[in-house]
């Protein structure tokens, strides 16, 4: 049953009540749904300052602030080393950060992050986790390990809609000229030569730092393309798409170092898949977050807003507001692992002037993620059949992924389409304003209008649209940022305080968040004198 049938089966009275007075009568009303995302209202209390003073003080050897991938990875490593005396404080009701999942009537889907590329041999911790979860079914150090087929993205992985036709893969192939193709080839050659030099690595700290490579960080990706005489519009679209998709920022504002990093850092291989295959699951990366949280669930405090951090000489005093209990708590932590986004540092840390100054140099991209629960997949359209990732050319959005793609089913029933859009057209602060100003209904209409270009039936099939507003979704690697020194104070070790967030790498990807989390945990274990074997070498 599609939504048209459903609505007509509801009585006329009810549908009249659903219809906004101004809606054209031939159009279906905006599907219902939830407004998801981060606890903005709670977070904004930080600015207004009406937070009760701490009513209790507790001492703790290790406190981890933030339960995203960075914080969970820190907890995961501490736990594996046999050190259990820690607590994770998370603002949201659920762990996982950008890797959370969402439940819908058609099953689980991602809130944000939705895939992990095959890890290369340098991503030691990623491989260790995957082996632990039984997905990497081999020696974790093997060059080409065997992976659980159910997590390898099923064929077809990607397709792209342009000029009314779906084409295979994301490189525009149909309707481009020989000159464009020649430029594609040259671009790919350049990326291959960077890969051969092993110039770019994951984790990014292992990247080579020769002057010519570091110089790439001082110009934009677009300027670099032009400096290489690469000006083909479909090539620029493709590279821009990749930058918006990975950094929430277009090619004019992403540094060439970060832009090339995306294309040249991947070295993962598998015995049973092509190297460009990704690992995914119906709820995106939530299975990875759950895997990290395995066994540490009892040491988590959710709905906890950390609003003050001050070094008191012997320990770090962290004030935590628990809105549900209407009180604040002071935790005197011998060791603090800060695994929350770094834009919060200037608002919460007392003292630490050098850190605060550095933190002000970070900028974060606002994102919108819409989860469309559909009663059935939309008609595939002309061209190649429905893929996992379906991208629209010339769209402000980044396309959508299909939650049921990995399922083995005879009959494809209801599914969730997770639609992404980075608000990269304006400056981040302006983008955030637009993001929060508009109503859920207005965003839902915009998403439907974008998808209707390729799927005329999408509105009738959509039962529910959940909109997630992610104001500071990811750090923006703008020119001069990654290697300009702003990250350095956060990457350094100190006696009591360590930072464990993808922001520290300047690249908002799972592997970097996990690396920073594990690194912070290992430095903490060293300070505490706990013996462990490293997950990083």
């Amino acid at each position: 049953m599609d939504r048209r049938d459903f609505l007509s089966s509801v009585s006329a009275v009810a549908s009249a009540a659903l219809l906004p007075a101004c809606a054209p009568t031939d159009q279906l009303p905006t599907p219902p749904g939830r407004l998801l995302g981060n606890a903005h209202a709670l977070g904004h209390r930080l600015r207004t300052g009406t937070i009760p003073a701490p009513s209790e003080t507790r001492r703790l050897p290790v406190l981890i602030v933030g339960g995203g991938i960075g914080g969970l990875s820190a907890g995961w490593k501490l736990n594996k080393a046999g050190f259990h005396d820690f607590l994770i404080a998370e603002l949201e009701p659920e762990l996982g950060g950008n890797s959370r999942g969402v439940q819908t009537p058609a099953g689980p889907c991602p809130l944000a992050a939705h895939y992990l590329p095959l890890p290369g041999t340098q991503a030691v911790a990623v491989r260790e986790l995957l082996a632990e979860l039984g997905v990497l079914q081999d020696d974790p150090r093997a060059q080409r390990p065997h992976y659980d087929e159910r997590y390898l993205c099923a064929t077809p992985q990607e397709r792209m809609y342009r000029h009314g036709l779906w084409q295979d893969g994301l490189w525009p192939q149909i309707g481009v000229g020989d000159r464009d193709r020649a430029q594609y080839a040259r671009f790919q050659q350049l990326m291959a030569s960077y890969r051969q030099r092993q110039a770019f690595a994951v984790p990014m700290v292992l990247s080579r730092r020769t002057p010519d490579l570091l110089a790439l960080d001082r110009l934009s990706m677009r300027d670099w393309l032009l400096s290489q005489q690469l000006d083909s519009p479909p090539l620029h679209w493709y590279v821009d798409y990749a930058c918006r998709d990975d950094y929430g920022t277009g090619i004019a504002e992403v540094s060439a170092w970060a832009g090339i990093h995306y294309f040249a850092c991947r070295s993962g291989e598998a015995a049973n898949a092509e190297g460009d295959t990704v690992l995914t699951a119906p709820d995106g990366n939530a299975w990875l977050a759950r895997g990290l949280a395995n066994g540490i669930g009892d040491r988590v405090m959710t709905g906890a807003l950390v609003h003050r951090v001050a070094d008191s000489g012997r320990h770090i005093a962290v004030d935590v507001w628990l809105p549900a209990e209407e009180r604040s708590l002071r935790i005197e932590a011998a060791q603090l692992i800060w695994a929350a986004p770094l834009f919060l540092v200037p608002r919460i840390f007392v003292g630490y002037d050098r850190l605060k100054a550095a933190a002000r140099q970070f900028s974060h991209a606002p994102w919108l993620v819409a989860n469309l629960t559909v009663s059935a997949l939309p008609t595939s359209g002309a061209g190649v059949p429905m893929a996992w990732d379906n991208v629209l050319y010339d769209s402000p959005g980044l396309g959508y992924v299909v939650s049921t793609h990995q399922q083995m089913r005879l009959h494809q029933g209801a599914a969730v389409l997770t639609y992404y859009r980075a608000l990269s057209a304006q400056a981040p602060a302006a983008g955030r304003e637009v993001l929060l100003q508009r109503s859920r209904e207005a965003w839902a209409e915009e998403v439907l209008a974008d998808l209707e270009k390729a799927h005329a039936d999408i509105r009738a099939l959509t039962l529910q649209i959940d909109i997630a507003l992610l104001g500071h979704a990811m750090v923006r690697p703008v020119p001069g940022f990654v290697w300009g020194g702003a990250r350095e104070p956060f990457a350094a070790d100190s006696p009591r305080l360590r930072f464990a967030h993808a922001d520290v790498s300047g690249l908002s990807i799972f592997e970097e968040a996990q690396y920073r989390g594990v690194l912070a945990a290992e430095r903490t274990l060293r300070r505490l004198g706990v013996r462990f074997s490293s997950s990083l070498v």
């Binding site: 087929e149 390898l152 064929t155 898949a273 295959t277 089913r409 005879l410």
Partner: protein, 499 residues
Amino acid sequence: MQQALLVSVFVVASCGLAYELIAAALASYVLGDSVTQFSTVIGTYLFAMGVGSWLSKYIVRDLIGRFVQIELLIGVVGGSSAAALFFTFVWAPEPFKLMLYFLVFILGMLVGLEIPLIMRILKRDLAFKDVVSQVLTFDYLGALAVSILFPVLLVPHLGLVRSALMFGLLNVLVALWALWLFRAQIPSVAWLRGQALAAAVVLIGAFAVAGEATSFAETQLYADEIVHAESSPYQRIVVTRWKDDLRLHLNNNLQFSSRDEYRYHEALVHPGLATLPGAKRVLVLGGGDGLAVREILKYPQVESVTLVDLDPAMTRLFSSAPALRALNGSALSSPKVNVVNADALVWLEESRERFDFVVIDFPDPSNFSIGKLYSAAFYRLLEKHLTETGLAVVQSTSPLYARQSFWSIVTTLESVGFVATPYHALVPSFGEWGFVLVSRRPYRSPETYPVETRFLTPALTPSLFEFPGDMARVEAEVNQLNNQVLVRYFEKEWRHVIR
């Protein structure tokens, strides 16, 4: 007077082209190969028109009276041409081609007579250059009008038989009009008028009954009688009957013909089950028609059969319709049979049961969704549901038409650690068809069949496992979820078979 004659040129030309198109369309409709039919019909017709034009010189007296008679003849012969051809093909297919070219020739010749006659009639009042220019102009305009109307309006709304009758009537009307216009110049007006009215009555009568008559003929010819048709949320189910042949179509794909389905289902079930005297628990995935279950229930040692089919409409139909129950021996009503309406994959993922014999009868791997049901991941799931000594059989498309697809299925089954034993059987409705038996231990084919079979015999059995040269094993990759090579092989191979 001149204008009137020119209008009749327009009508006459329209009719002339219409008969030609109708004959060609009908021929390609029933004989296929439209290029050949159109070119031979048009060629014959044009040649016959030439003959007609040549013969026109022998008509010297009473031009108008002859013209009227020719019009009436064209009206009757042309008007009934489609019906005559149609019924000839249905009841006496042999002389169809003879009839076709005979009719086309006669019509072409008569039409070839028309224009020269009209030109000669007009020549009495006009200069030759004007006659030629005006007559030919209207002749070609008439042809243009019909060539546009024919595919857009006539065929879709009237059909070929009634279109022809309608043009026949137009010819008769031209004749009547000519009689009225030239009533002073024709010696035997009354006699001709009588003929014209008789022709009109015949054609109008035929037009009235043509609808029913053709649909009757069409049922005889194309679609067998449809005995059941329904659309479930999952598929379109159509059962047809032609004489004693019942056929099931799902989404317009033939699933079985009752004339030879026993060959398919015996080959699917017995080579495996006949070697399992201890088989108590059997699972059937797909196969809601109950025909595989019918074969399974022949074995007394089988205590329970679980049939998992997604579509309740299918299992309901095959456990209630008398003709279909007769076909599956009321298998779905057997107390041993447990019908589960669920997605086979979901059911398999959730169930912990193990079976001695599993029949996997999924549709061919024609798209990425179904291709997943032939993947290594699916076969690993299957492995968990097979007892230590158990066997499973997989319908594996045609090793003749889709050779690499077939061997890719075998390779995939082997890749998960199964011993795979491929075999094949000839099912006339489908062609040479393939199956793969899988087990943990080497399989040995049965020396006898403990149950009654119509197709399988002990002597035939060894040959099922022999693959002749054109079906012999070829190199094929393992079908994985993340490469779906099988769907690509299948698409490539069947594209060569189906035009």
